[in-house]
Symmetry: C2
């Protein structure tokens, strides 16, 4: 028994030129689709996350209200529910998994909306981190279909420093003895722990650590936070899946397709959706400055940084009432406009 | 043949309670000691560095002028020239190496000055990064001896976030298969490469990478920079030595001794030296804000951030004329005052 549905996307030719045969997109819906299909919100997943991890944000008193909206969470390819290294048969299993770009992801998501639900308008694409990257892609790939986007702590194109940060994460994971011949044959316990510790420095701000805000969310010491939160969150994932999603993140770029041919300015300029772009003031890898440059090239966008010392996690405020309130108010305003 | 000297410090009881038997401090001097011994500059080493790596800063047209000053570089314990895991005999070899705190380092450096040269006054302690931490320690441990300190991109106490960043570096290195039973028996090639890649994201700013400043210093692509510069710089070190120095860094604290008993405010207040504290505006782990809080508690200190997008490397500007000029002028001013 699962709580989600599968969209059988068939044989999909990916941007790489490889064909993924029998691609499966796992998704879950919340609320009811209006008769005129005008109340659709797409809420894509962030790095490492499945809908189980992100659906806390949906609820009557939450940021996305299922009483008013029909909300769809499409699980990212590579996340273990949609087609992923961990569930792909040979010869495309594990290290031979054909990489999905963010563009590949969003195009299949759009097919899901069209083919299964007959949806032609999306009221909002809301996303955090890699979910924000998918929101930008929705805006650029389907400008006539998307009315609003709210990218939170994410960029239209992965910045060079963000790429380097991910190189470090990847190198830590693949330093593990289980990394052999381009994939993991067994679970890399050391590598997953190392990945968590490397990530810990990036995922929250320097000020978060100085102020010891981990005390507020149930951790008894810094080491307790590093083990329970960071080692724990990566340790329960499949390592080959984590690498596949990391590749997707590193190569995110709304202009890397035949529509825009690498012209980022053109791709940003093509986004018609009303956009409320919300980086965290203290995010160390998806930075305000990168969004500022992107927003300047978008015709209908506002930059609204989240005033927070929670770093990247300001955009995923499950345990953080101030940032939650900020995002809730901003999304309500965007949807009303 | 070596170009440096050894101070035989004898059997040293360390802060940990362990005795390091036959401790050896490697040092090199530049210039001539004045008859009144009033022209002494101490220039301690940074993480991973030996005097070979740092002496570029000494010269007639450089930041420290050996025509006027008698400059001493004491090599940090753990750096492979002074007593280190790589040169310590059993039973204190490798994983059993007795850790030296920064306080242990500076106390032995002070003995070198007193016992070998009869020096009782130091005109300046200048240091970058862990060298800056040693400068702060000199000021707090020997307030009557030290006239000036110039800590560049370093703090009096390692901040919690800085500690976490180093946890990530350490975890990446020790994810290597060669990490067994608390030390490396063979060279951890994967781990050293991972360490370099993790460090790359931290060592320079996000803006450095966006502006591709690596082009200015002889690298042909981002990947070329990551391999040649970052994997290269750690790959030539001894991994057990790198871990020992990392431990020293993580535990740096001018108040962690019997003089101040953890009272950082008291320790900072005890520094009589005129201090010119120079963080980089874009340093990601030794941050301006941490120095700002420290300077506020020091009686005779000025905070002067380096306006640079070179991140931490603004403080080690071998390839960076603007930041070099900034530091040169600041040190000249400090020494004139």
């Amino acid at each position: 028994m699962t709580d989600y549905q599968i969209f059988e996307a068939g044989d999909v030719v990916l941007q790489s030129g490889l064909t993924y045969r029998g691609a499966r997109l796992a998704y879950k819906t919340y609320g009811e689709l209006a008769a005129d299909k005008s109340n659709v919100i797409v809420y894509p997943t962030s790095y490492g996350a499945q809908h189980y991890d992100t659906e806390w944000l949906i609820g009557p008193d939450k940021i996305l209200d299922p009483r008013k909206y029909f909300i769809i969470i499409p699980n990212k390819f590579g996340n273990g529910l949609s087609s992923s290294p961990s569930n792909t048969p040979a010869p495309f299993d594990r290290g031979r998994y054909p990489h999905f770009t963010v563009t590949d992801n969003v195009r299949i998501q759009q097919r899901l909306l069209r083919e299964v639900f007959g949806i032609t308008k999306v009221a909002l694409v809301y996303g955090f981190s890699m979910g924000a990257q998918q929101a930008f892609h929705w805006g650029a790939l389907f400008p006539e279909m998307v009315e609003r986007i709210a990218p939170v702590c994410g960029s239209a194109k992965t910045s060079p420093h963000n790429f380097v940060f991910l190189e470090g994460v990847k190198a830590a994971l693949t330093a593990d003895p289980a990394w052999q011949d381009g994939w993991f044959a067994t679970k890399p316990v050391r590598g997953l722990r190392a990945m968590g510790r490397v990530y810990a420095g990036w995922g929250l701000s320097q000020d978060f650590y100085r102020e010891e805000l981990w005390r507020k969310i149930g951790y008894s010491s810094l080491e307790d936070f590093l083990i329970a939160n960071w080692e724990g969150s990566f340790g329960r994932r499949d390592a080959n899946d984590l690498l596949a999603m990391l590749w997707t993140w590193q190569h995110a770029d709304i202009s890397a397709n035949e529509l825009y041919r690498g012209d980022l300015k053109k791709a940003l300029g093509a986004i018609r959706a009303r956009a409320l772009v919300m980086p965290s003031e203290t995010d160390l890898y998806f930075r305000v400055e990168d969004n500022r440059r992107e927003v300047a090239l978008m015709p209908n966008a506002e930059l609204r940084p989240i005033p927070s010392i929670w770093g990247h996690r300001a955009g995923n405020p499950a345990q953080n009432p101030e940032d939650f309130a900020f995002l809730k108010a901003a999304v309500a305003e965007l949807l009303a406009g």
